[in-house]
């Protein structure tokens, strides 16, 4: 498996550390209900197919990446920098 890092180009999977599903990017607001935290931390769609998850380019550029890939075929569709995402201001 090779991941195309936006900064470093295609690199071996071993350079990257998997963190978890995209849900980790959607942190509940302060004072959110416990259910929101449960959803954020534990509950998952866990699709068999296309998914988005977070990877850290540990032995490369140290960027956090949001990767779109297929959990059945291991095909990687895209990798974008988490830092480039437009985060709506609360």
């Amino acid at each position: 498996m090779r991941i195309n890092c936006p900064l470093c180009g295609p690199r071996d999977r071993r350079e990257f550390h998997y963190y978890g599903a995209e849900d980790f990017l959607h942190r509940p607001a302060e004072g959110a209900a416990p259910e929101a935290w449960d959803n954020h931390l534990h509950q998952r769609d866990n699709p068999a197919g296309i998914t988005k998850d977070l990877w850290y380019h540990e032995t490369g550029c140290s960027s956090w990446l949001l990767i779109t890939r297929n959990t059945v075929t291991h095909e990687i569709h895209s990798a974008e920098l988490v830092a480039d995402r437009k985060v709506p201001t609360p």
């Binding site: 998997y18 449960d38 998952r44 866990n46 998850d53 990877w55 959990t71 291991h74």
Partner: protein, 416 residues
């Protein structure tokens, strides 16, 4: 047909022409008292104990492929009861007792072999943790013996004790631990359930779960709609997909765990040996193959096959621990799809839908749990109450904070 040694001899003398199929192949009826989705080890054990312990025989087990085609036939067959957290300890202890009576109970040779399990430790801190674990096992009524280095050497003289990275300090021996023949467990429970009137319906994939006003009514399948008062989802590996049919999101992320088997060798490894520091464990099957495995591939996957970095890691760990296996040729490797939960413990519980139950989240410890999981899930489905030894395997424990993190590694699915 009852199996016995005499039967094997007489059948052998007369050309083995008298054997009959071990179970029927019925068409699905329109209506059942209970439906089990999933004809794997846990589903078949649940059906068996529903019939045997609770007298419920108007049951169907729906399997999308053939009996035992999932994780029950894709694991490393280790049976043990070496947990220490209350909630896990009594459950796996119960399971081991059921293993010990399984062959007599099922009249089926599952080749359960209590050859002893040795967990190695490599530091003073790890020794302390293993002493604590051993005491917890003894308090639970199971067995544990702390071995120092010489004690381990007596059992496992072939290990590399002086390896530079993780010198071996000793090990925790669990004499009642061992292994079993994985397929036979599925076949034994299937036959036992069938004999008690349970319909095992193969090649019947569930495509929908019918719910009306918060009450389960039955399922839609590739072989038509089937009505039922109770439905149990027991499909570890595909739990999220089946639960989604009932509108549920689960605390599960699927990961791949790889395992390997070598060509058949003469008896060389007499125990189950685990080398936690290398994420490596090994035993030898009765056929002679060395069966070993490592850690997760670490990223969510349903591929049923692993990636090469973990293959390399497992081989390195094996060579570090026991260089003698380096000449053995690996015949096969495979990846099993694991329901990983955020605390590494399973779920046996009701759902928010009346009559719908779920048994899932077995991480990579599902094989040894097969009998107790079936026992407790059957109890839950028959009585509506959690069984005493499975009362902490709640679906909502992540929201309420009642986690069962046996390894203490944190609330991330892939860390367990």
């Amino acid at each position: 047909m009852r199996y016995s040694g005499l039967k094997v001899i007489t059948q052998g003398l007369f050309g083995n022409k008298g054997w009959t199929p071990a179970w029927r192949n019925p068409a699905p009826k329109a209506d059942y008292d209970a439906i089990i989705i999933g004809g794997g080890g846990h589903g078949l054990a649940t059906a068996f104990y529903l019939a045997k312990n609770h007298g419920l025989t108007n049951i169907a087990v729906l399997e999308k492929s053939h009996i035992g085609s999932g994780n029950i036939g894709r694991n490393t067959t280790i049976v043990r009861a070496n947990y220490f957290l209350p909630g896990n300890s009594e459950f796996y202890s119960h399971s081991l007792k059921l293993w010990e009576g399984m062959e007599a109970e099922l009249n089926y040779n599952v080749m359960h072999s209590q050859r002893g399990l040795i967990n190695l430790f490599h530091s003073d801190g790890q020794r302390d943790a293993f002493v604590r674990r051993g005491n917890a096992m003894i308090n639970q009524g199971d067995d544990a013996i702390l071995l120092d280095r010489d004690g381990v050497r007596e059992h496992l003289p072939y290990l590399d004790f002086e390896q530079t990275r993780f010198p071996i300090y000793g090990g925790l021996l669990h004499p009642r631990g061992g292994s079993a023949r994985h397929d036979a467990v599925a076949w034994g429970y299937a036959r036992g359930a069938d004999q008690r009137g349970v319909d095992l319906i193969q090649n019947c994939e569930v495509t929908g779960i019918d719910v009306e006003n918060g009450v389960v009514r039955g399922v839609q399948t590739t072989r038509g709609a089937i009505r039922a008062k109770k439905v149990g989802i027991i499909v570890a590996g595909r739990s999220s997909q089946v639960a989604a049919m009932a509108g549920m999101r689960l605390p599960i992320e699927s990961h791949i765990l790889q395992a390997f088997v070598t060509e058949g060798l003469k008896p060389v490894i007499n125990h189950v040996v685990s080398f936690g520091m290398g994420h490596f464990y090994i035993s030898q099957s009765d056929k002679g193959g060395l069966v070993f495995g490592g850690d997760l591939d670490f990223y969510a996957s349903y591929a049923s096959r692993g990636n090469l970095p973990m293959v390399e890691h497992v081989m390195e760990a094996g060579m570090t621990l026991m260089p003698m296996i380096g000449r053995a040729k690996v015949l096969r490797s495979w990846g099993g799809i694991m329901d990983m939960t955020p605390d590494g413990s399973p779920i046996i519980d009701k759902t928010h839908i009346d009559g719908l139950f779920i048994d899932a989240g077995w991480n990579y410890g599902g094989f040894k749990a097969v009998p107790a999981s079936g026992w407790c899930m059957a109890h839950l489905m028959a009585t509506g109450e959690s069984h005493e030894v499975a009362r902490r395997f709640k679906l909502n424990r992540f929201a309420t904070g009642h986690l069962l993190d046996e390894e203490g590694t944190g609330a991330q699915h892939n860390l367990h």
